[in-house]
Symmetry: C2
Subunit: 349 residues, 2 copies
């Protein structure tokens, strides 16, 4: 059996399966998000840039920002797509860390540019390698915490990248959708006149299916360009989703803090369980993925699925053949069962 | 004062203004759409192609279709954008009728192709002109009923276009978002292996801000290509919006019929009012726009706004300088007041 990509597993959710596949939180959004629906009656177009109260609430979370610096999008996916389209230029290249989130190379090509890769060293950016390959790139994409590696980049490295890209006039697209799921330190927000922060309500507030993300940038020309483009390609992001997002922002800080504790406990369970099984892995510092080594990752994913009813994602889809991505966005009892099936798989080999 | 485009008027909605600007229904969606919100709890990713029950319900409205032939999008805007991106080819051209919906030229260029125009004759497609300019076009866009002309194309013409494009292997992108607002006949659905129907819940069900549209095509490769692209550029359309759309489809037929009566009454009021003022116009056969002639359309729009507090859109934005677009998506009492202000403007000249 050949499993070609994540799409293969969509809709395969029967109870006999343990899924370490999809990267979506299983814990629900804050109750505040659903409460607003009970009396919701809006139906008219909203501003293409996004509802002002939502952008104002976001501005409070980003020091030195104003509501004008944000564009609300259909999740982080559209945010990345529209930013790349807006900055695209003929013959442009975009520098991607490898392993990478599987959509990045597609996004770059769809925007008419060419992806250029550099390898992470033990899941980390080696600044010297980065500086060597930066060359004439139009943009670089940074993803910390990273899907699929689970690593968080060193603040020193991020600062050096920030400075070098500013000096060279290179766009930095910083995908920080996992910024509220970091186990090792606070998030470091990359900043500057050609910096674009991508974020969403999908991971922090478990609102994946509601598709509310955003672009934050202090580059006014880019905001204008994106709004102009979206007038023709999307119009406003679903107004009801935006109101749910605004309500989610008003939830108590304990919502995020509690979820982080849950993620951390699961992370510890995954790491200790996998180490007991002798797997070679990077300890996740953020997000909810672990990417252990497997000799033949394609066969591993196929066998785990067919013989053991366990869904995992082939590292090859993320530019990391020889590794397999396990998402731990599932209940502790399922993690235990999944690790036990993984043990069977490893024992049989 | 220079008014550069529709975006100028966004957010300008104080009570002293009469707006013939925005093309969004003022009558609310069916109550069914809001009813489902009271108990709504979904938050997870859905299929990128769209919720199966919604696609199945749509299939019931299109003879000979199945749920697999639909992709649910963020409104018709994303539908057009993603279809053009999916069929784009280097050096490709897309044939557009002029006057055109103002986004089309942008959509074509954003997809890396070049728009080619042909002029409508009294708001109608002249098939001989169409056939002459078709040339090596990659695609043609048909928009009947049309925004901004309010005209409906002759069924004979549509059938000839259908046949010629099939023969030449040219994509037909048929934007039928106003198909449920036709005063003169039933809608004629263009069909074929390279036909793509664009539609949405925005006009029929007054759900503009909720952003639910769809692509319908019997071309399986195109469906696959769009789903693959959307996996990276959008993911699923907002699941709550899709459930509202599904509920809207379950509303009684009287919802659409009643609205059509209202549109028709407003149309009659606009046409007779404008003719009394001596304006030269095409009688709207569908949608809710009328596009009368004005010598200097740019100055007319500016003066109507500044001196008479009336919002209208310059025909030039739609490829029709010398005409002004009036949307009649507003209450009869406001239409009367608006026509009275228009009379003042014309008298002063």
């Amino acid at each position: 059996m050949e499993i070609s990509g994540p799409a293969f597993f969509i809709g395969k959710g029967d109870d006999s399966l343990i899924s370490f596949g999809s990267g979506q939180p299983d814990m629900p959004p804050p109750v505040e998000a659903f409460d607003i629906l009970k009396t919701y009656t809006g139906f008219k177009y909203g501003p293409v840039q996004g509802e002002e109260p939502l952008r104002a609430a976001l501005a409070e979370k980003y020091a030195g920002s104003t509501a004008d610096d944000f564009v609300i999008t259909n999740g982080a996916s559209e945010a990345i797509d529209i930013v790349l389209r807006a900055i695209s230029k003929e013959g442009g290249t975009v520098l991607l860390p490898r392993p990478y989130y599987y959509s990045y190379p597609f996004n770059v090509r769809y925007a008419g540019m060419t992806p250029v890769y550099y390898d992470l060293v033990d899941g980390k950016i080696d600044f010297d390698i980065f500086a060597q390959v930066l060359d004439e790139a139009t943009a670089v994409v940074i993803n910390s915490p990273s899907n699929p590696t689970g690593t968080v980049q060193n603040v020193d490295t991020l600062k050096k990248i920030e400075a070098l890209c500013a000096e060279r006039g290179v766009w930095v697209i910083s995908d920080e959708v996992y910024k509220d799921i970091i186990y090792v330190r606070e998030n470091y927000l990359i900043q500057g006149p050609k910096v674009v922060t991508i974020n969403s309500f999908s991971k922090t507030y478990a609102m994946c299916g509601l598709r509310v993300g955003y672009v934050y940038t202090q580059n006014k020309e880019l905001v204008e360009k994106i709004v102009e483009m979206r007038t023709h390609t999307a119009m406003n992001t679903s107004i009801v989703g935006q109101m749910m997002a605004l309500a989610a922002l008003s939830s108590p800080a304990s919502y995020i803090a509690h979820n982080l504790e849950v993620w951390k406990a699961r992370r510890d369970m995954m790491v200790s369980g996998m180490r007991e099984l002798g797997l070679d892995l990077w300890e996740p510092e953020g997000a909810f993925y672990v990417l252990p080594k497997f000799e033949d990752s394609g066969r591993t994913v196929a066998e785990l699925y067919e013989k053991h009813r366990v869904i995992t994602y082939d590292g090859a889809w993320f530019g990391a053949p020889g590794r397999v991505r396990f998402s731990y966005a599932l209940d502790a009892s399922k993690i235990i069962e999944g690790l036990s099936r993984l043990k069977e798989f490893l024992t049989e080999k």
